[in-house]
Subunit: 300 residues, 4 copies
C-alpha cells in the first residue's frame, strides 16, 4: 500500500519511518527542503508539491496530513482536495479543532471523498514506534484504512471512535485530561519542594511508579526528567500550551459541564507566562486603599 | 466611661481618637514610645505598662486590645489578665483565630472575667470615623459594652453575633468574602486590560459604582486608586495576605464546604509572591519529555 | 425628542416609563399584545410593527432595541435596518455578544447608520429609576444621544467606553465580576451556615453593609432576601446563568488571561443544575476499583 | 523473622498474607474475632491482645500497625509502646497525619524505640501481591527493616524517603496527586458524556491506555469499571474522601503553595455529598432580587 504523507515535522517525520517499517511505500511532502532531503536519506520517496504527491499515488489515493492545525491544515486540505476524487481518502492526523473537522468532513463528503480524522497521542517516540490513534470516520472509510491504523499504533492502541469529528474531539479531551494530570503531579512536587523534608525527586518518581495508585507514563517521564536535572534548576516554570486544553474548556462551557481541574490547569499555564499581572496590581492597590498595606513598587 | 486601650498601630491609634471624639476617657499603652508620645499630643492619657494601664481604670475595668493576632495577643492577654478580676471586661478587637478566641473565652470565664471578641472592619479610615464591629460575647457582657460598640461604629454597624468566638469567626468569613470579591474585580480589570479596547479604568470604576449591580465600596476604592495611577504602573502585582483568608479556607475544609472562589483567590495571592514555580518547572519538563516542546532555560 | 423602543420585557417596559418620566415621547413595539396594551395604559404610544414604529419617528430616527441577545436581536436589527437611513441611530441596549456587536457596527456603518451598543446594568429597578449604561459608539454618534443616556442613567452612571463593541464588552465583564462577587458572598454564607455558630443572616448582611470592606449593593439585596426568608428555606440552590459569564470566561481564554474566580463561579452554577454528575460516578467507580471503597447505588 | 501485625482490615489482612508468602512468621491481632479466626484459617498465628502479641515476639521486636489513622492509631500505639523497649521497632503503615507522626517519632525516640512511618499505596490488591511503600525513618532503623519493605513491595516499589514523618507526608501528597488525576480523568469522561458523540467508554479507556500520554493504572481501573457497567448507571456520583486530600490542601496552605487542582478536586467531592447547597440558594436569591430571575422552589 502506498501512502502520501504531507508534513515532516517532529511527528510526521517519525510517522513516515514508522510507516516504512511496516512495509508501506511512502511518498512525502514538506515545505522544508531539508526535511525532504533528510527523509530521502532514509530511503523514502518525496514529492516537491502536493500535486506531484497526489499524482504518484494509485487510486483510491490515501493521503495523511500531519501538519499544524488551523490555517495550514485548511490550506493543505484545499490543495490536496483538488487532486482527489470520489473514493479517495484524506486523513487529518493533526490536532484540528473538531468543529473544523466536522465541517470539513461534510464538505468532502459532498465530493465523495472520505475524510478521516485521527487524533494522535504518544509523542514523537510514539510516532516512531507505535502511536495511539483515535479515529473519527464513516464506517466504510474506516474499513479501508483500519489496517494502516492498526499497523502504526501500539497493540490495542487504535479506536474507531465514531462519526467524523469524534476522533479529534476524543483527542482534544485526552489532552484536557493530560493538562489536569500534569498539573496534579506538578502540584504534588511543589508541595514536596516547599515542605521541610528533603526528598530526592527522581527516587520519589521511581517509587510512585512502582505499585502506587498514581503510576503512569507521565510519572515515568518525570523520573527521566529528574534523572537529568534533579531539581529542575536548569529550566523556568513557563508552561506553554498548544490549544487543545483551551478547546476542552470551551467545550465544557458549551455543554455546561463542570471542568474546574482542567480549567485551572490551563489558567495556571497562562499565569506562568506572565512576570506580573494586572489582577495582582488591582488587588494590591485595593489592599493599600482600605488597609494601608504596603505595596511592592515597580522597578524602574 | 474610661477605657484602657492596648495597641496604637494603624487601627488602634485611629480607634483611640474615635473613642475620644465620643467622650470616652482613654488610657493607652503601646510598645512604641513614639506612638505613645504622639497620642499624648492628641490629648490622650498613656500608661507605660499594662499594669499601670490597668491600675488607672475604675472597676469594672474595660480593656480593649488592638494588637496583632497570635503570640502578641496571647502575651498581652496573659499580662492584662493578671490585673483583671471578676466582672472586668477584656475585648480583643484584633483578627485572632476564632479557635484561640473560644479557648481564651473559656479560660477567662473560669476567672469570672468577661472576654469579648470583636471583629473589626472598615480599615484605618473606619477606625477613625466609624467602624463595623462583629461581636461575640455572653449576653450579660455584651450589655455592659453595647454603648461603646454603638458609639465607635457607623450607624447600624455593630452586631452581637452570638457566643464568644462568633465575632472573630464572622470577621474571618467577612475577609474570605473580601478576598473573593477583590479577585473577581481584579480579574475583570485584567480581562479589560488584555482586550483590544482602550478603557479608562478610573471612568470604568466610576460608572460601575453608579447604578450597576457591582457597585460597592471596593469599587469606590478602585476609582480612587486609578485616579492616582491610571494603569497602576507604579506597583507590582504582588498580593500579600494576613491570614484570615487562609483560615477561611481551613474552616471550609473542616466543615466540608465548597469554597472554590475563596480558595482560588488565596492561591492566586500565593502564586503572585513567587517569580517562578516548581509546579511550572514540572509541567514544562513533562511537555519536553513527551512532545519535545521547548523549555525556557533558567537565566544564569 | 421621540424614541422608538422595541422590546417591552422586564427591562424594556421599565425603561419606557423611565423615558417618559424624562420627557421623551416614546413609541413602543413588542411581540406581546398584552405588553403593548399595558404600556398604552401608561399613556405611551405603540406601533404594531417595526415598520410602523419607524414611520412614526422623525429624522434622524433613534431606535432603542431592548430584546434578548442572539437570534432575536439579529432578526429585529435586520428588520429595523430596512427602515433606517443615513444618519439614523440604532441602539442595542441588550446583552449582545460583543463579537456580534462589532460585526453589526461595521455592517451598519457601511449604510451610514450609527450603531450604538449600550450595556445596561441595575436590574429592573434600575431600568425604571436610573440605570447604569456602558456605551460603545463612534464619537459623533455618542454626541447625538449622550443626553438620552444621561437622562436615563443615575447620576454619574453612564460612560462612553470607546468604539463600537466596547459597551457590550464592558457590560459582559461587569457580569463576569458580578458572578465572582456573588459566589464569594455565597461561599461566605455557606461557611457560616455549616459552622457551629447560629447567625441571623439578615443581621449579618445588615452589619456587613455598614462600615465593612465588603459593603455593596449585592449585600443590600442579600439583607432584603433574608428579611423575606431567613434561611432561604423556600428555594433551591439551582443557579442559572444567562450567557455573559460564559462569554467572559471565553474572552479570558481568548486573551490568555487567568480568571479562576470567574470561571469557578460559572462551573458551580453548571454543577448546581445537575442532580448527579458523570464525573462523580467516575471518581466513585475508581475509588471502588483500587480501594474497595463503598459506592452509593443508584436508586431504582 | 517474626512480625507482629496489628490490624486485619482490608489492607492489613492482605498484608498478612503477603508477609506469609515471603516467609515471615506473623502474629496478628485485631479487634474483630472474625478477622482473627479467618487469618488463623490461613495458617497464621494470632494473639488476643496487643500485650500477648508483643510477648510472642523475639527481641528486637518488630510491630507493624495497620489501623485507621487518628484516635485508633494513637490508642494502639500507646498500648504497644508499653510492651516495647529500647531497640524495638514500631511501624505505622496507616495513613496517619504527618504532624502526628513527627510527634510520635520524637516521643518514641526518647524511649529508645524506633518509630518507622510507612505510607502504603496500591490498594488491597497491592497489599496482597506487592505494595508501594514510602518510608520515613532514622537510617539505623531503616536498615533493620529494609528487607521487610523490600519483600512486601513490588520491585523498585519502596523508598526510604527521609527522616520520620517523611513517609507519611509523601503518601499524603501522593493521595493529593491521586485526587487531582482522578478528577481530571473524570472531567474528561463528563465532557465526552455531554458531547454529541456516542462513545464506548470502555473502548475509550482501552485506547487511552495503549500508547497515549495519559496511560496510567487509574485508566486501567477505569477500563475495568466500564467493563462491568458501561455507563456507570448503577452508581451515584457521590465522592467520599478519607482525609489525605484535605491534609494535602492544608499543607499547601501552610507552605503558601498554589494547589488549585488538588483543592478543586476536593471541593468537588464535598459538593457531591450534598443534594442542595446554601451557596446556591444565596446566588439564586440574589439573581431574583436584582433581575427578577425565577427561582426554583423547594419541594415541600
Amino acid at each position: 500500500m502506498k501512502i502520501g504523507l504531507i508534513g515532516l515535522g517532529k511527528m510526521g517525520y517519525n510517522l513516515a519511518l514508522n510507516m516504512k517499517d511496516h512495509g508501506y511505500e511512502v511518498v512525502a511532502n514538506d515545505v522544508s527542503a531539508d526535511a525532504m532531503q533528510s527523509i530521502r536519506s532514509e530511503g523514502l520517496e518525496t514529492a516537491d508539491s502536493i500535486q506531484m504527491l497526489a499524482e504518484k499515488l494509485p487510486s483510491p489515493k490515501v493521503i495523511w496530513m500531519m501538519v499544524p492545525a488551523g490555517d495550514i491544515t485548511e490550506n493543505v486540505l484545499q490543495q490536496a482536495t483538488q487532486y482527489l476524487s470520489e473514493g479517495d481518502i484524506l486523513i487529518d492526523g493533526g490536532n484540528s479543532n473538531y468543529k473544523d473537522t466536522i465541517r470539513r468532513g461534510q464538505e468532502l463528503k459532498e465530493k465523495g471523498i472520505y475524510f478521516v480524522d485521527c487524533g494522535t497521542s504518544g509523542g514523537t517516540d510514539g510516532a516512531r514506534n507505535g502511536i495511539c490513534t483515535m479515529i473519527g470516520a464513516e464506517p466504510e472509510a474506516f474499513e479501508k484504512v483500519e489496517k494502516l491504523f492498526s499497523d502504526l499504533s501500539v497493540e490495542n492502541g487504535y479506536l474507531h471512535a465514531g462519526k467524523p469529528g469524534s476522533g479529534h474531539f476524543l483527542k482534544m479531551v485526552h489532552n484536557g485530561v493530560e493538562y489536569g494530570m500534569m498539573q496534579a503531579i506538578a502540584e504534588g512536587f511543589e508541595i514536596l519542594d516547599k515542605s521541610d523534608f528533603d526528598y530526592d525527586y527522581q527516587e520519589v518518581s521511581r517509587v510512585w511508579n512502582n505499585g502506587s495508585v498514581i503510576r503512569s507514563w507521565l510519572m515515568e517521564l518525570m523520573e527521566h526528567a529528574f534523572s537529568k536535572d534533579p531539581k529542575l534548576s536548569g529550566i523556568r516554570g513557563v508552561m506553554n500550551s498548544s490549544g487543545e486544553g483551551k478547546w476542552t474548556v470551551e467545550a465544557a462551557l458549551d455543554f455546561q459541564a463542570s471542568a474546574p481541574v482542567i480549567a485551572m490547569s490551563l489558567f495556571m499555564r497562562y499565569r506562568s507566562q506572565e512576570n506580573d499581572t494586572f489582577h495582582g496590581k488591582v488587588v494590591s492597590a485595593l489592599r493599600n486603599e482600605f488597609g494601608g498595606h504596603a505595596v511592592v513598587k515597580s522597578e524602574e
